[in-house]
Subunit: 379 residues, 2 copies
């Protein structure tokens, strides 16, 4: 059978069609009033999407560039940082702090679980000199959501910053930056923001801006200070990816029109529908505290997870992600964020069931579809 | 809930992405070797898609233009034509023959049914001077397939031509032009051929070409003779829609690579899956002899069909068609042709079920999904 290509991995995600179209418009110069007006609008709407009154810095880089910016601008070589490590992307924070020679403490959490805020509180009580806690909104590798609100309640009472990697979730997974006392939220363009990779963001609280003056680490392209000063002039310090910014403006327009409460709620329902469908097929969800933007499904015993992931692609045209590192072959990860809708999720559920049937693990796809649809109908 | 826009009506259908892209390439002049090479390739591949060794004429017009071309080039004011009228598009043949002053006989068939070949045989025995029988491959208004092969067996033994409107089906619905003795098959670009509206086609047998010399009707832009002579020069008599022809070439490349047997079989399976899904939800199919490229579902008693069709669009982002004329509000028509795949059909089935539930007619969507998937898994 012929199937269309469906990109349902946790990023890059399908690009909003209006954003694709506007990216194709002729290039304009970035040091012009015309482009300044675009940037002013973008900076303004980014605040809405990040649910913050603070400035949101914009980098032409992948999300990792903005993670590096957070470390390079906030940390010191003579003060410790705390990294919550519960998957691939928590690990990345530690890789970056170590690359910069920052003394790095780590709270290791088993993959599939979320950090216990009490462990963070205990650590900060012992090491109040900790510059920042680095953690993850949506740990893509395990599809786990850390309790960001609870972590913010802890750090807000200390001199320590809370820095959250929101790359694979911001704009879908609930993140109330100011209300939750998050000092820095980092994001990337290619996930719930519905545009191609190439732009990254960091919202920066006053507490973080103040702390950035004390950092002793080298930075130039990723300087918070330079980017922050340029926002006041409706521009960026270096040449930005102009066509991606056209796309971003279009995506932000749509998000602001829908409203962040509606967007968070929509993703919550999609997540619940997908998990209901998975469970109704007799399967289990890997994540103990699942995100709303993607679902990690345990590959049933006796099934080759690599083959299952491959079948999604070769048989059904659907790109999903498998497990990484020690859980390679043990899970498949299906995204439901940004420019994906319930019918995309239904296709993924059907493909999951058909793929398992093909590999000899019979499941009741009708029950899965019915359970997912029931959750949507109740919305 | 947010849903993407899904165009699942029986045309225009979703455009193949590669075809969209190539339509955006810079314009070239149509009287050049570069464009002649494109046209040569297009004329060649059209034969494969029409399953014919005969030339396929290309008009820059909607499908109706090619229907008019067939009448204007084949008929006479002093000889009768026979029109099979079993829906909107059968009626159109009669409207055209009458507009040209062609004496028109009609076989009226109740909507939802196919013509009985015996009726055509009987008529031609009584009126052997009939120039042509005008009928329809896929009568879009009722989603009925007429028995073209059987009609060809009848006309091939006579001096009468068989002219088939294949607009909403050719390239999806099985049509073996030469093997079935069809003299003229008319098609349009915006259905199973997967490109935008604007191009139309007519395959022309030797018998039809011969008969076209005898026609006494006026024609200029739509002249078979002019178009036929230009094919030998790898061109068209008048300026064609160049960007659509780029798109057409891309779509034909893909179709030729897949092969017409595979394409016909794929549509057959999609049609069977959709009908299985509809029936498993306790619903009925309107068409007695259903096409493979679209399904007409009876709107259950007590349900407002207009509201149901509207819900598809407003609630689920899906464009489907309703009933026309005296069956308005009584059916919904869901296409599964061209650049649509099974997951599009699954979305339509789910939306059909959710829409009916919303209108108070409870159906078992899980059973529908399961039945449709079962047919796909058996393929």
């Amino acid at each position: 059978m012929f199937y269309k290509k469906r990109l349902l991995a946790p990023g890059p995600t399908p690009v909003l069609e209006e954003a694709l179209l506007i990216s194709a418009k002729p290039m304009i110069h970035h040091r012009t009033e015309e482009f300044n007006a675009v940037m002013k609008d973008v900076f303004d709407k980014l605040k809405t999407v990040f649910v913050t009154k603070n400035p949101v810095l914009l980098f032409t880089s992948s999300g990792t560039g903005a993670m590096e910016a957070a470390v390079a601008n906030l940390c010191r070589t003579d003060r410790p940082a705390l990294v919550v490590r519960a998957g691939k992307f928590g690990e990345r924070w530690g890789d970056i702090t170590k690359a910069y020679g920052v003394p790095t403490d780590v709270i290791d959490v088993p993959w599939g679980q979320a950090v216990d805020p009490a462990d963070v509180a205990k650590h900060l009580k012992q090491k109040p000199e900790t510059t920042a806690v680095f953690t993850t909104l949506s740990e893509t590798s395990t599809c786990v959501a850390h309790p960001i609100k609870e972590l913010g309640e802890i750090t807000s009472k200390t001199d320590t910053l809370l820095v959250v990697d929101g790359i694979s979730g911001l704009g879908g997974q609930e993140c109330r930056t100011d209300a939750w006392n998050v000092d820095v939220v980092v994001a990337g363009s290619q996930k719930a923001l519905m545009i191609p990779p190439g732009l990254a963001f960091a919202s920066v609280s006053e507490k973080a801006l103040k702390k950035s003056k004390e950092s002793n680490l080298p930075k130039f392209y990723l300087s918070f200070d330079k980017h922050h000063k340029n926002i006041a002039k409706d521009t960026t310090p270096y040449t930005p990816a102009v066509s991606l910014i056209f796309a971003l403006q279009t995506a932000l327009d749509r998000m602001v029109a829908e409203g962040m409460d509606a967007i968070f709620n929509r993703h919550k329902i999609l997540g619940e529908a997908m998990r209901a469908g998975v469970k109704a097929m007799g399967l289990t969800v890997f994540s103990r505290r699942p995100v709303d933007v993607a679902t990690a499904v345990d590959v049933p015993a006796g099934v080759d997870g690599g083959k299952l992931k491959k079948l999604f692609d070769t048989e059904y045209g659907i790109t999903v992600a498998g497990g990484q590192d020690h859980i390679k072959g043990k899970i498949v990860r299906i995204a439901h964020m940004g420019y994906m809708d319930f019918f995309d999720s239904l296709a993924a559920l059907a493909a999951l069931g058909m793929g398992l049937n093909k590999l000899g693990h019979r499941v009741d796809i009708g029950a899965g579809a019915a359970a997912a649809i029931k959750r949507i109908e109740a919305a």
